[in-house]
Structure formats: structure tokens, C-alpha cells
Amino acid sequence: MKKNKSILLSGPYILWMLLFTLIPLGVMGYYALTDPDTGAFTLNNLRDLGLFLPTLGTSVWYSIVSAIICLGLGYPVAYFIAHRSPVTQKILYMLIMLPMCMSFLLRTLAWVGLLETNGIINVLLGKLGMGTVEIIGTSGAVILGMVYNYLPYMILPLYAIIVKIDNRLIEAAEDLGCNGTQVFCRVILPLSMPGILSGITMVFVPAVSTFYISQKLGGAETMLIGDVIEKQFKTSNNPNMGAALSLLLMLMVLVCTGIMNRFGGEDEEGGVVV
Amino acid sequence: MEFDGERILDGINLYFNDKEFLTLLGPSGCGKTTTLRIIGGFLTPTSGRVLFDGKCINDVPAYERQINTVFQRYALFPHLDVYGNIAFGLKVAKLPKEEIQKRVQDILSVVGLTGFEHRSIDSLSGGQQQRVAIARALVNRPKVLLLDEPLAALDLRLRKDMQNELKRIQQAMGITFIYVTHDQEEALSMSDTVVVMDKGRIQQIGKPEDIYNEPKNAFVADFIGESNILDGIMLSDYKVKFFGRVFDCVDAGFAPNEPVDVVIRPEDIDFVPAGEGHLVGTVTSVTFKGLNYDIIVDFRGFKWLIQTTDYHSEGETVGIRLNPEDIHIMHKSEYSGMFGDYSSYSAEYDELTEDADNEEE
């Protein structure tokens, strides 16, 4: 039958993806398990990972905090956009998309200019006679950078889900005696759960692995796992250790998104029941 | 024909005559669409052969067969306008432009859509889309046109119009139509030949009148119109016994004392006063149907459907008469005992099955 023939079209793709996604991960595993000097098999790299667990913990913590802030800020915005007229929706959607297309390096650099001790914000505050705030170099600045960079990744999936919620469901809930808050908690929120989960994933994954934001906005104490990995490759010349760290990071992300998807699955079912 | 390891069609042996309007009729899942797809070339049978003008076309792909199809829900190309849809096949065949133009215009006038060339598909009504689909298939001048439930998506009135329209087009073009439907009324009113199918097998082939008047088994009897089907014993030629009584009938050729199914059409039964009838029963329900009443009568625990223009009230005791020509005798089949009892009769029954049919495939 004809269908069998078109399956062949995906052959090159499967080959390509195996060659350039799975095998590289295998090579990474190989590096993680070999000695940088001798190339012999060793568990030393994995053992030394213990050193970096606090850093990983910091990264995860920052990313979770930024994801939650993004959700808190992004949800009302997505909700607001989803309830505009179609043309306004398009315009606002575009305005959310636009920053994502521009160099995030330069945009983050602009935050340095804004937040520096003698940066724009402090100059303005000084002129208003309100003293200065020391933000740069703190964990707050790093989280701000994360929120700034990844907020659109939260708003877009949320918007996509909220805009699809059938207005009749809300009317039905009102008809059944729900007040505004109840409608939100019992209908809208459960229905937007898939968007919330994908938004959190889309913020969490890049945030936990970033190194640029912490380099620029962070200080001496805000080293993240991404920085460590970058340093292993670009300064310490220890790709084996770097590979081991990447492996750890990948597994951690896999586990986190896995847990989220499992929760998501259950919540989704709950949502359908409502 | 097997599909996903399941036998879908079994022992289909069909002959199509030239310029014939043939209908494949059956409930959903009976294999009629599968048969059509095999003829159209979208499926290859696991065994058996498809012959066209005496040549085996099993290995001829769909796009090389001189057969065209009007699809369920039309499958019009949404990115093309009416003209683009109709001219599609001709353009693929690389006909000269003038000829394409002429043929499209001709067919548009046949289906009554002249002037609609540059309308977008979305802006057409269901009936208009239907006509475009037919025109798109016919413009290629196929030898056989396959129609897969073409009227299923139309409302009742439009469906009636289109039935006449299709018949007219078929006669005007003079080609073979193979028509798939689950609607027995449609099948009976349009076809030259009706093929009743169920469970992947052909149950009966014949002219509409023959199918209605002389169903071969309980399935056909029940599927085509309403029937009361009773167990009986054929005592000898023209004598059948049921409900403890011997009736005269017009059928012959059965073995002596052969158990048979007896079919009595609800509209053939005449009411008589209780004392004068062959059988006496009690009316249990009366439904007004417009042209007639549907009356359910209980005869010793067996409920019959009787259609009559006379009103009888619930609880009334009535008698009936059965004339020999009203009684039709069938051999016992696997369907015996499955149909023909109206004890769970409900007026909505028919509509429910129809909905289920619409969801086929």
C-alpha cells in the first residue's frame, strides 16, 4: 500500500537525528567516563561531580524562582491578551514575540547598563534623591535577568491555551453557581494547566543551563552550573569533566520535566472532569 | 480482503453492467466502502481479482484507472476555487487549455453551477459543494463513477432533490454509477440494481422491487423496510404453519416440514373486528406518523408492528387477516431470530441507527 512507501521518507531523518542527537550524547557519555590525560576509563569525573552539587542546587533554585515569577507575571498578561479583539491579540502577540528575535546577549547587556551601581536606574534614583540600590552582582539581578529573558516563553504557551478555553464553559460554571474566583480556580486554571506546565518547562530548562546571564548580571557568589560547564570547556580545558557535568545537568532536567509531565498528566485528567 | 489482520470482505462476487446505476447498501462496517475503495484502487485486495473490461486491474494504481470517485464529504481542494477543482484532473492529464475550459463549462452547466467558476469552496452551500464534487469527477469522462455516501451530509429535502439530480445526470452521461449508501430508501428509489451487504458478505443482489418484496433472509427483510418475522414451518408447497395455524401462501420449493422464517410487512396487514380475524391480539402502543399510525399489537407475547390509516386505541382487542400474497417465506439463516420482534419498539430507533451510520469510517 502507498502508506508504506511514504514511511521511507522519514528514513534519512531518523538517521540524521540518531547521528546528531543520540550519538553525540553517547560521545558525551564516553568523555564523561574517560580520563582527560590518559583517555582511560574512569569514574573520577563522576565522583568529582559531588563538588558541583551545591552549584547545581543554586541553579535549580534560581530557575524555579524565576519560573514561578514568570508564571505570576505571565499569567495575567496572557489572560489579558487572550481576551482582546482578534486584531489586538495579533498585535500584542507580535510584541511579545519581537524581543525573542533580538540578540539576547545585547539585551542582557543593556540590563547591566541599567542596573550598575552607576547605571541608568541609580542615576535616576540619585536625581530624585532616593539614594542608590545595589542590585547588580546579587542573586536578585540574575533572577531578574532570567525572568526578563524567558518571560515570553511563559506568556506564549499560556496565551495559546487560554485563548482556546471555550467561553461557554465559563458561562456554564457561572450558571452552576460559581462566582468569579471560583470560576477561575475551578475552570480556567485547571484548563490552562497544560499551558502552565509547558511554560514552566520552557522557562526552567534554559534558565537552569544559562551561563551568560550569571556572568553579566551575577557577582562572585552567583556561579551557576552553566558557568562551570562553560569554564570546563573554554578555560580549564577539561572536556571530560565538562561532559560529566553536562550529563548531570541533562539528567536533572530530564527528571524535572519528567516529574512535571507526570503531574501534568494527572492534572489534565482532573481538568477534563471539571 | 483483510485489513489489520481482520477479514473485512469475504467472497464478494459482483458484476457491474455498463450504464447501470448500482447501489451497495448495508449498515456501517458492512464492507461497502471497502469494496468501493478496492474498485477505485485505493486498496489492494489480499486475494481475489478486480476485472475491468475483462482485464485484471489489481496492480493498476488509482491514478491510472478510468474510474473516478465522489468522496464522502466531497474532499474538495480548499486551496482551489470551483474552476480549479473541476479542472484539476484535466490539468494533471495536460489537456490543452481551450479544451479544459470548454469541458469545465459544459460540466458546470450539467450540474447547474454556471457562473460559479471563481467562487471559493468555503463560500458554497453543501448542495453546491456536492455538485462541484460530482462535476470534478465527471469532467474526466470516467467509464465508472464511484459515489461514496455522497448525500450523507445534506439535509433531508436537499437529499431528495439531489437524488433526482444524480439519476438525471447518470442518464444524461450514460455511464455506470456505483453508489454506496446506508439509506435503504435512497437505494430503492435510485438504483437499477441493489446489492445488500452485511459483515463483508453480499446478502442479496436484485432489482429494488425484488429486494423489497422477496428478501432472501431475515437481515435483508429487516434492513429494507419494516418486517415482522416469525418462526414457521413449511408444511408443504403453499402451506405454512405459524402461531399454531396453517396459512395459505404463494411460496413453494421448500422441503416438507422445513422450519422457515415468515415475513409479514406491517403495511400489508388488515385489521378486522376481533371475532373475524385469523389472529387476535391487544394494541399496546399507538404512534401517529403522519401518513399512518404505527400500531404495536401483542399476539400471545409476540409483538407485531402494523401500519394502518385506521385509528385504534391502546388496550383495544383487535383481529387481523392475512392474505396469501401478504406472507413471504424465507429459508432459515444465521440472522434468524435476530430481527422482526417489536417488543422493544421505539419511534426513535431508526434515527439512532442512522446517526451511527453517518460515523462510518
Partner: protein
């Protein structure tokens, strides 16, 4: 509720656009600083269009993203059709393969790909330049493919399968029916997939950063190294123009969509004449060709029939023509028109070493410091120079010959020399506190102190303070130095290299150890900055010298460049910009008087005698130093005396693996 939502939305949009506004404003600024607007000018735009390198980078980026998007779109669309016709279970497996690059952090994708490319290129094919244009293209296609597939698949699912049957019924072969019908149906998916792929590819930094060599860089990767240095405002001008371009494109696309939505409502479709159709097609093809040609031209215009000389130097370490200095590279290219210099930078000896040892690139000329030269020599990573090609070697002062790192003068020609001292801001730092290296440990200036972000220099500072030899190999002494650095950690605002410029000039930190020449440049920008050399405790005296690594492919051109830089006039002009001492006899005479007389650049011989050079250290010492430094960076506390060799992380990793596997496979079972 609704009102607060509206206000919040406005605030969020302000939050999103504020930094972009800052950059746009900066592009019209006469000053270089992001913070202070000095006056309106369009000069940056003029500079942008004269900056061939920047335009070439933009061309590179466009070329890579257009090519990768085009290939991924075509490839992905066909693959999606194939995947669509699979049985559900197989399709699920393939889709989880597709999801790998989507769910993996970019850094993991980038690293795994770069390891693969280097592994194949260097270990299997013995290529010198295993990270190049093609690896970058492959990486971009790989992460673009899922975007296309994930956008096309739903459209295929939505499509009425009878449409394909209908096309075949009307005489189309399966291939024809794909092009005539299926393609039209899934077009919206293809377009949105392509747009997503293009924007992701154009703005990708992380993956490109790991996968590109030095031969072919994209704009974001180069911007990353720009952001470490004081940024050239023309980059802001480019940002503004790109912003405008993308804005216009997006608005145009939206308008087109709104128009086509409206069109659908109108019943009568205007017939499109075949002439119009041909016209449209010709336009589309012309656009595509124009874009490709444009990119090609941008790249080729800088590299026509030329030998490419790949130079890798420290950031801010060659005169580039700004502020009235000589543009050395331009002068060299003018003298040797057949040589094209591809100039990239690194910010520490260690990162240079990592780049060279990591493999995957071609470098013809490097300028490492003394101890690194010794290390590279030891590891056979340098080629001996042919001094017949470097007649100007005669100008090199005797003091810079027969050095410890190159006693036979075989591998290196000195470029600059200098000292490491303390730069501080006199406005905030009490002169009385400036007594020695302990200034960097002064609690008073907590949060205003910077430290080197490379182990050797940072350890050096601690060792001078503690009176430990900076060339010690004793593990105990190294731990002591590390403890000293750990003690300093709570006071340190940031560990920096090239970023130091903006931080010190902007007075965001007050005290930092750094290289004298760079300090001189900063002092130029901010007159409150002072340089101090703790001569009593000792300080590092270093020589940066030009060497040719073994991965060089144009040794002759590299030697020509070395010879060129040894000309006293050129060297002097160069020093005017980089503010270091020149080892070339007579160069000082060509320097700006103010610089030539500066005791930051040319301290007294008596002081110089107290300087100590870094010597080559064995690999295990380097590794120990790296590890100790990393511990300080990540822990911010005293490093543990002896790292406990526990099996805990191994167990953790493996259990993580198990948990992940379980999570991936359990839901599948649930559904059955």
C-alpha cells in the same frame, strides 16, 4: 481584576522593551557608555557600514540561518510526511527522538555536538579544522528540524486524508498529489515552522558558541566576545537596524494574514491570471537568489582569492584605528593585499590553551604569555620559526632574548611586556590603604573589589601577598594560597577578565588587580583611576610573545605578520593603543610622549628587577590550581582540606538515570 491586569500588562511590556530602548538610544549616543547620553549623532551608523568585519559577521549569520532554515524546512516537511504514515507506536518513538533537542538544554546539545565533531574530525579523520562552516550548518539544521516537524505534524493530522485520495483519483501520482494538494494543506505549518526555525537560528548563541571554530563565526558568538570588552557603539546601531527590520517584517506578515483572513470572508475569489502567477513566482525566486547572493557577497567581499591568516590575540591587544591610532591589521593588509587577516580574541592564557587543545580550529598566530609558551612548547604545540622571514628580529632588545620560556629563541618573538599591579579609584579608595596586595583583602571595600578570573593570575596575587613563590609546585603551598583566595571571596564583587573595563571605568568597582597596559587604557577613560605596583611584595613581570601553533596552515603569512609587527614604527604605533612596553628597540621613540614617559608602562629598572616571571608548571600542578580555583568560585567558602572520595555522586547520577528512565517509560505502560 481587569484593571490590574491591564496595568500589569503595560508594565510587563515596559519591562520587556526598556532594555531595547536603552540599546536604541545608545546607538545615537556620541559617547561610548550605555549609561550617559552625551549627544545625538548618526556616526555609529556610518561606522557600521564601514565596518567590513561586522557586516561579514552579519552575512555569516544570515547565510547560516537561511541555509539551515531552507534545508531543515524541506527535509523536515518530507520527514513529517513519512512520520505521519507510521504506526502509532513507531511514531511515538520517532517523536521522542525529535523532542531530544527541544527538551535538552542548549548547552548540552552544543557540547555533545562539538564533542562529536571534534571526535570525528580530529580523532578519526585527522582534520585540523574539525569545527567549521559545515559543522555549524549541521548543528543549526539539527536544532531547526524539530521546529519544522512539530509545526507540520499537526497540519498533516488535521488534513482530510480523502484529499490525497481525491487527487490520485483525478490522475495524480502519489508524488504529484503531494505537491498539488498535501503541500497546500500543510503550508501554514511549514511557514510557521520555517519562521520559528529562522529566528531561533539567527539568534542562537549557545549552540553556535560551542560548535563554531574560529574560521566561521556568527554574529551572536562574536557579540559574546564583544560584550566582554567595552562595546563598540556601532553594534548598538546594528541592533537598532535589525530591530527595525524584524519589526517591519512582523508587521507586514501580520497585515498579510489579516488581509487573507478578510479575503476568505469575501465570496468571490479574484481569478489569478497565469501571468500574475508567473510574476509572483519570479519575484519569489528573485528574492531568494538576491538574499543568497547578498550573504555570499558579504562574505566573499572580504575573502576573495586571498590567503587567510588566522590571528588569535588577547582582547584589546592590537591597535584598531580607534581614537586616532593606526589600524595595524588594515595597514598589514594594505601592504600584503593577498593576505586576509581573520582576527579573533581570547581573554586568558588558559582559554587560549583550551581552544588550541580542544582542537577543531586553524590558528596561524597566537600571542600567549611566557609560562604558557613554555607549556605549549613542552606539549609540542608550537612550530619553530623561520627567522629568515623575520629580518626585523634584529630590532628585538637583548633583554627579551634567551628567556626562560624560550632559551634558544626558536619559537617566539616578543610582542609586549608588562607588569601586573593594582588599579584603584582614587575617588573612593583612601590613599593610606594603598600599601600592597592586602588592599584587595580590605574589608572596607567589600563588594567593590574585583579579582582575576583565571587561576594562575589569581593565585599569583595571593602568593605575592603570602610570600609564597608564584612558581611553587608544592600542593600544601597551593592550598594555602587557595585559602587566601577563599578568604577574599566574600569581598569580591566579580571575577573578571576583559569585562573589567566597563566595570572600572563606570566606577562600579573600585579596586582590581590587572595588567598594567590595560590599566593605562582604563585610566585614559577615567582620570580618577590610579595604578599601583606593590614593589616590595613583588609582582608579576610578563612577556607576551608571538608564536605559531602546530595547527597553522599559513606559516609564511604568519611570519610576515610577525615581521611587520617588529618594525619599530609599527610596534610604537601599536603600543600607543595597547599601552604596554615594547620589546622593540626604537619603538619607544615612535610612541606618544605621554605614554613613552609613563612609569606605568616603563617603570624604573630598579623596580623592574623586583618583578617575577611565571614559569612553566607541570600539568598536575596546573590541574590542582584549576580545581582549587573552581572550588573557590563555586563554594565561596574555604575549600575542603581533602575532597572526600565518596561514591555518593556516582550513585546520585545513576539513580537519576534510573528515575528518568522510569519516568519516561511508566506512562507508556499506563496507557496500555
Amino acid at each position: 481584576m481587569k484593571k490590574t491586569n491591564r496595568i500589569l500588562t503595560i508594565l510587563i511590556f515596559a519591562f520587556l522593551y526598556l532594555p531595547m530602548l536603552v540599546l536604541v538610544v545608545a546607538s545615537f549616543n556620541t559617547g561610548k557608555n550605555l549609561t550617559i547620553f552625551e549627544g545625538f549623532t548618526l556616526d555609529q551608523y556610518k561606522a557600521l557600514f564601514q565596518d567590513k568585519d561586522l557586516l561579514a559577521l552579519l552575512g555569516n549569520s544570515l547565510l547560516i540561518s537561511i541555509l539551515s532554515t531552507a534545508i531543515a524546512t524541506a527535509f523536515g516537511t518530507f520527514s513529517a510526511v513519512g512520520i505521519h504514515s507510521m504506526k502509532p507506536r513507531l511514531r511515538k518513538t520517532v517523536m521522542s527522538l525529535t523532542n531530544i533537542p527541544m527538551t535538552n538544554p542548549d548547552i548540552v546539545t552544543g557540547i555533545s555536538l562539538s564533542l562529536l565533531f571534534v571526535f570525528i574530525g580530529s580523532a578519526l579523520l585527522h582534520q585540523k579544522e574539525s569545527l567549521n562552516f559545515w559543522t555549524l550548518l549541521i548543528a543549526h539544521i539539527t536544532f531547526n528540524l524539530p521546529y519544522v516537524i512539530l509545526n507540520v505534524m499537526p497540519k498533516l493530522k488535521q488534513m482530510n486524508p480523502a484529499l490525497q485520495d481525491a487527487a490520485m483519483d483525478l490522475g495524480c501520482t502519489p508524488v504529484q498529489s503531494f505537491f498539488k494538494v498535501t503541500l497546500h494543506e500543510i503550508m501554514p505549518g511549514i511557514v510557521s515552522g520555517a519562521i520559528m526555525a529562522f529566528t531561533m537560528s539567527l539568534d542562537d548563541f549557545v549552540i553556535s558558541y560551542f560548535v563554531s571554530g574560529n574560521g566561521f563565526l556568527t554574529l551572536p558568538v562574536e557579540i559574546y566576545s564583544y560584550t566582554k570588552k567595552p562595546m563598540q557603539p556601532r553594534v548598538y546601531a546594528m541592533f537598532t537596524l535589525l530591530f527595525l527590520l524584524i519589526f517591519v517584517l512582523m508587521v507586514a506578515m501580520n497585515l498579510l494574514q489579516i488581509r487573507s483572513d478578510r479575503k476568505k470572508l469575501i465570496k468571490q475569489v479574484k481569478p489569478v491570471s497565469s501571468r500574475q502567477k508567473t510574476f509572483r513566482r519570479v519575484c519569489a525566486i528573485a528574492c531568494a537568489i538576491a538574499i543568497l547572493l547578498g550573504c555570499g557577497w558579504l562574505i566573499l567581499s572580504t575573502r576573495q582569492n586571498k590567503v587567510t591568516l588566522n590571528v588569535m590575540n588577547w582582547g584589546q591587544n592590537i591597535a584598531d584605528g580607534s581614537d586616532g591610532t593606526l589600524d595595524i591589521i588594515a595597514a598589514f593588509e594594505e601592504k600584503y593585499p593577498d593576505i586576509d587577516v581573520n582576527y579573533t580574541t581570547y581573554d586568558s592564557n588558559e582559554s587560549l590553551y583550551a581552544k588550541l587543545a580542544g582542537g577543531g580550529l586553524t590558528v596561524d598566530l597566537i600571542i600567549p604569555s611566557d609560562y604558557m609558551i613554555a607549556r605549549l612548547k613542552q606539549e609540542n604545540m608550537l612550530l619553530p620559526l623561520n627567522f629568515d622571514n623575520i629580518p626585523n628580529y634584529k630590532y628585538v632588545q637583548e633583554a627579551f632574548k634567551n628567556t626562560a620560556y624560550d632559551p634558544e629563541n626558536k619559537y617566539s618573538v616578543p610582542y609586549t611586556w608588562g607588569t601586573v599591579g593594582i588599579i584603584y579609584n582614587a575617588k573612593f579608595v583612601d590613599e593610606a590603604d594603598v600599601t600592597g596586595w592586602e588592599l584587595l583583602w580590605n574589608e572596607k571595600y567589600k563588594g567593590k573589589i574585583l579579582q582575576f578570573d583565571n587561576s594562575r593570575d589569581a593565585f599569583g596575587v595571593a602568593q605575592f601577598l603570602s610570600g609564597i613563590s608564584i612558581n611553587t609546585t608544592d600542593a600544601e603551598e597551593l592550598r594555602q594560597s587557595a585559602n587566601k583566595l577563599a578568604e577574599q571571596n566574600p569581598l569580591v564583587r566579580q571575577y573578571v577578565m576583559d569585562q573589567i573595563y566597563s566595570i572600572m571605568e563606570g566606577e562600579n568597582a573600585w579596586i582590581a588587580p590587572y595588567y598594567a597596559g590595560d590599566c593605562m587604557m582604563m585610566m585614559d577613560a577615567n582620570p580618577d583611576l590610579r595604578f599601583y605596583l606593590p614593589e616590595e611584595q613583588g609582582f608579576n613581570l610578563f612577556i607576551d610573545a608571538m608564536c605559531i601553533p602546530t595547527c597553522s596552515e599559513n606559516k609564511d603569512a604568519a611570519e610576515k605578520f610577525i615581521n611587520f609587527l617588529c618594525e619599530p614604527e609599527i610596534s610604537g604605533a601599536n603600543m600607543d593603543y595597547i599601552c604596554y612596553g615594547s620589546p622593540i628597540e626604537g619603538a619607544r621613540d615612535y610612541m606618544d610622549e605621554y605614554l613613552a614617559e609613563s612609569d606605568v608602562i616603563y617603570p624604573d629598572q630598579s623596580i623592574l628587577d623586583k618583578g617575577v616571571s611565571y614559569l612553566f608548571l607541570p600539568a598536575e600542578t596546573n590541574r590542582l590550581m584549576d580545581n582549587l580555583f573552581m572550588e573557590i568560585r563555586i563554594a565561596g567558602q574555604q575549600p575542603e582540606e581533602e575532597e572526600e572520595a565518596s561514591a555518593l555522586p556516582v550513585v546520585l547520577t545513576l539513580s537519576g538515570l534510573a528515575a528518568a528512565a522510569a519516568l519516561l517509560f511508566l506512562p507508556k505502560r499506563k496507557h496500555k
